[in-house]
């Protein structure tokens, strides 16, 4: 038993899992002992039952939210990276555009979402635009920082070998920027989900193309609290899944050389 407990990987998985199990246990037992009514605060078992019962509709809503999230995330990665490349090509471009990138970042999505939803007819598209706006900034700032953080010795070496701008970009700046870029991905993936859910709340669209946010709203109207929790649980699960995927991606790309991931494979 002892070697297993000493194994770092086992402890890293088992310890948080144990905390989760204890918390859910306390929650279940606490609710039962205090006999809290389901419509005030449901027990984990109620939520689980609701998850099974509303499975098909919740799953469909999850797919809608997931699609908006992934589309927005992909758009943010492509647009954010392109903007970052523009920023490092010319100081003038960065100086003139960066304040607007900050402006975009500090404006709450709840505040601009109604405007976008009015302006853009297609609901899916308007939701995606809202989520993209939220997810964009970490990609821009991290990738720009990465592309600028070049080892001065290596930069000097490239200069001495008369390397052109494009070669320097491909061989030196881009590989050097990858750790920062992946850091941006981790933050941005979560923000894309938040953006999608918030935009759905604002749009409040029902019908077949409704996401998890609408499920929560709808459950709230009908006081179906366990369904609210079940939808919330799915949103959380999606966020964790996205984050995990980014961690794996960054490990695959960087584990050979970068300090942040070196040793992670052991």
């Amino acid at each position: 038993m002892k070697p297993l407990l000493q194994s770092e990987a086992f402890v890293q998985i088992a310890a948080p899992l144990a905390v989760g199990v204890i918390l859910i246990g306390v929650w279940e037992v606490g609710c039962r002992l205090a006999s809290i009514p389901v419509y005030l605060f449901p027990k984990p078992s109620d939520i689980f039952a609701s998850l099974i019962h509303h499975g098909p509709s919740l799953l469909r809503a999850l797919m809608v939210t997931l699609r908006v999230t992934l589309q927005a995330f992909a758009a943010a990665v492509v647009i954010g990276t392109l903007i970052a490349f523009m920023f490092v090509q010319s100081r003038a471009v960065e100086v003139s555009l960066f304040p607007y990138a900050v402006l975009l970042q500090v404006t709450p999505v709840v505040a601009i979402a109604p405007l976008i939803i009015i302006l853009v007819k297609n609901t899916q598209l308007s939701l995606t635009i809202c989520a993209t706006l939220v997810a964009l900034f970490p990609i821009i700032s991290n990738t720009t920082l990465g592309l600028r953080s070049v080892d001065p010795g290596l930069a000097n070496y490239f200069r001495m070998n008369r390397a052109g701008r494009l070669k320097t970009l491909i061989k030196l700046r881009i590989p050097g920027a990858l750790p920062y870029f992946f850091g941006g991905l981790r933050i941005s993936s979560g923000l894309a989900l938040i953006g999608a859910v918030v935009a759905e709340f604002v749009a409040g669209t029902g019908g077949r193309s409704s996401g998890l946010a609408y499920e929560i709203l709808d459950a709230g109207f009908t006081l179906d609290i366990p369904r609210m929790f079940a939808a919330l649980f799915l949103i959380t699960l999606t966020g964790v899944g996205l984050f995990g995927a980014m961690v794996v991606l960054s490990r695959l790309a960087l584990s050979n050389w970068h300090e942040s991931e070196v040793g992670a494979e052991t």
């Binding site: 070998n161 590989p175 050097g176 050979n256 050389w257």
Partner: protein, 284 residues
């Protein structure tokens, strides 16, 4: 580990250079001086001719301008006055007719994301040489520095001395005519440094590679060089010149010889004199 083979047959042209200097000097420094923008006089006017195939070492107290002189020779900075010639030509001609420089610095400056062979291939890649053409050259250079077993390793998996070997291999792939080294082994322990010095002197001999080397170490300077330039500060200038008269290729036996000790003693005295305030420009 050691893949460098001593005792290659003599290169005839290098013999001529040693005998009478029929070949043009590799570098000529003609009354070149350097005054920085803030008024610091880093180098007083210097005249220096570096023969083809020579191993020249610059040594001196800090602030004597040895790194500045190396940068002038590398054309990384321009002289404030005077000029330099490379193979009797202007710098614009460097890069043509096989006139190539290579640099090795105190830091190995390797790309952490690239394996050893990719790091060594870098200068060829920057010169747009195809991978197929580069592969045998890269493999040979890696073998020369004794790292064949580590070609697919990442820099972080190597020791400081091995990283320096990679840096040297990278300098060799372009088949340079002039190798410029700025305290390349300064950060290594003495044992590793001695081993790399022995390898370097063999490499230099095999290739008849004109080398300009900057160091703080008296032992390293005597072991490696055919000529040592002792520099003094305020302003930076050539203090004295010492020729090391020792058969090539040198091996570890040279380190233990009385001759080596005598050279070191003399160089040490000169360095002490060069560091004295009375040796400064004000007293001259």
């Amino acid at each position: 580990m050691n893949a460098l083979m001593p005792g290659e047959p003599f290169n005839e042209s290098a013999d001529k250079t040693a005998a009478g200097g029929e070949r043009p000097p590799a570098v000529e420094v003609l009354s070149a001086e350097k005054v920085f923008a803030n008024g610091t006089r880093a180098l007083a006017p210097i005249d220096l001719s570096i023969a083809d195939g020579e191993f020249l070492t610059l040594i001196g107290p800090s602030g004597c301008g040895k790194s500045t002189l190396l940068k002038l020779i590398a054309n990384l900075i321009e002289p404030s006055d005077g000029r330099l010639l490379w193979w009797r030509g202007e710098f614009a001609q460097v890069g043509q007719e096989g006139r190539r420089f290579a640099f090795v610095f105190q830091e190995p400056t390797l790309m952490p994301w690239a394996r050893v062979d990719s790091n060594v291939r870098l200068p060829l890649e920057l010169a747009n040489i195809s991978n197929a053409k580069a592969a045998p050259i890269v493999a040979e250079a890696i073998e020369r520095v004794g790292l064949s077993d580590f070609a697919r390793h990442f820099p972080r998996q190597l020791s400081g001395g091995m990283k320096m070997r990679v840096s040297i291999a990278r300098a060799l792939v372009t088949n340079p005519n002039l190798l410029l080294m700025d305290e390349p082994f300064g950060a290594l322990d003495e044992f590793t440094r001695n081993r790399l010095d022995a390898d370097l002197v063999r490499l230099w001999w095999e290739r008849k590679l004109t080398t300009v080397f900057v160091t703080h170490s008296i032992y390293e300077a005597v072991f490696l060089s055919t000529r040592i330039i002792v520099m003094a500060a305020n302003p930076g200038r050539i203090f004295r010149t010492m020729t090391i008269d020792q058969a090539q290729p040198r091996d570890e036996g040279f380190r233990d010889s009385p001759k080596f000790a005598a050279y070191c003693r003399e160089l040490s005295t000169w360095l002490a004199e060069a560091s004295l305030p009375s040796a400064s420009g004000a007293a001259l």
